[in-house]
């Protein structure tokens, strides 16, 4: 592009193309937050599951707090490397969605430590993560997130099968793979392909 003047049609085409490119942009590392939280949650879930199965000591449940303790610093460390050259309203809205759902997940975790509180925490987490993933998919028009998000939300109803705590953890691990790890990898793959094409 240079400073040349345009016809009216060329101007409108240029405006449409630039706005479309900005809204449809997909940058390297787009799936990074999904993968950081997904793998951290998966590893912690399996660690708690193994520890409880081997020792039957319920103090191991405090390991759940490793998820935010590891997840947040990892997000901060990798943020700089993948910082985008452009920020749109869509980025901001997706950010707000995950702040709200992240806080709800934290509240739900803390609530399980209140005596006499017997909510099925892992299934509520799946419902919240599913809603967050589905909303993200709808906002960024990414079908994989929408599909896995709704599948994860449907997993909420597995709680009515009255599974034991150990099985609930395995269900949660499957949910994490479905809701965070698969969309994260698909998003990264799509971003890589787009970068290769352009």
């Amino acid at each position: 592009m240079d400073e040349k003047s345009l016809s009216q049609n060329e101007s409108l085409e240029l405006i449409a193309r630039m706005i479309r490119n900005t809204n449809d942009r997909l940058e390297a590392g787009a799936g990074r937050p999904f993968l950081i939280w997904g793998y951290t949650s998966l590893i912690v879930t399996l660690a708690v599951w193994v520890a409880l199965a081997l020792t039957h000591n319920y103090w191991w449940n405090f390991l759940w707090f490793v998820i935010p303790v590891v997840g947040w610093p990892l997000m901060m460390i990798t943020q700089k490397k993948y910082e985008s050259g452009c920020t749109t309203y869509i980025d901001r809205i997706v950010g707000y969605v995950w702040i709200v759902f992240g806080l709800l997940c934290m509240c739900q975790t803390v609530a399980t430590f209140i005596p006499m509180h017997a909510s099925p925490v892992l299934f509520v987490m799946l419902l919240l993560l599913g809603a967050g993933t589905a909303l993200t998919g709808l906002i960024i028009k990414f079908r994989c997130c929408v599909v896995t998000g709704f599948m994860g939300m449907a997993m909420f109803f597995i709680q009515f099968l009255n599974l034991s705590g150990q099985w609930q953890m395995l269900c949660f691990a499957v949910g994490v793979v479905l809701l965070l790890i698969i969309p994260g990898h698909v998003l990264n793959l799509k971003a890589r392909r787009k970068c290769c094409r352009s």
Partner: protein, 94 residues
Amino acid sequence: MLPQLNALLHSELRLGVMSILYASEQADFTYLREQTGSTAGNLSVQIDKLTKAEYIEVEKGFRGKMPRTICRITDRGRAAFEEYVESLQSYLRT
């Protein structure tokens, strides 16, 4: 009587920059250069013209040790851009 097109916006590079900034909250110099396919020197001159007209605002900072220039559209720029698009549409209707 057809409205006059805004001469400042009726140039390929400046219109490209304004379109990107209209669709985003902010964009840095590197992103604008990649998207518009322009040279750094030319882009710098056009950004300067848009800044002087108060259509965009520029913030200079650092990303790590690398200098970074971030551009944002102002309310005045947004209004001028919308008016420009309306003028274009009225030209095309006639």
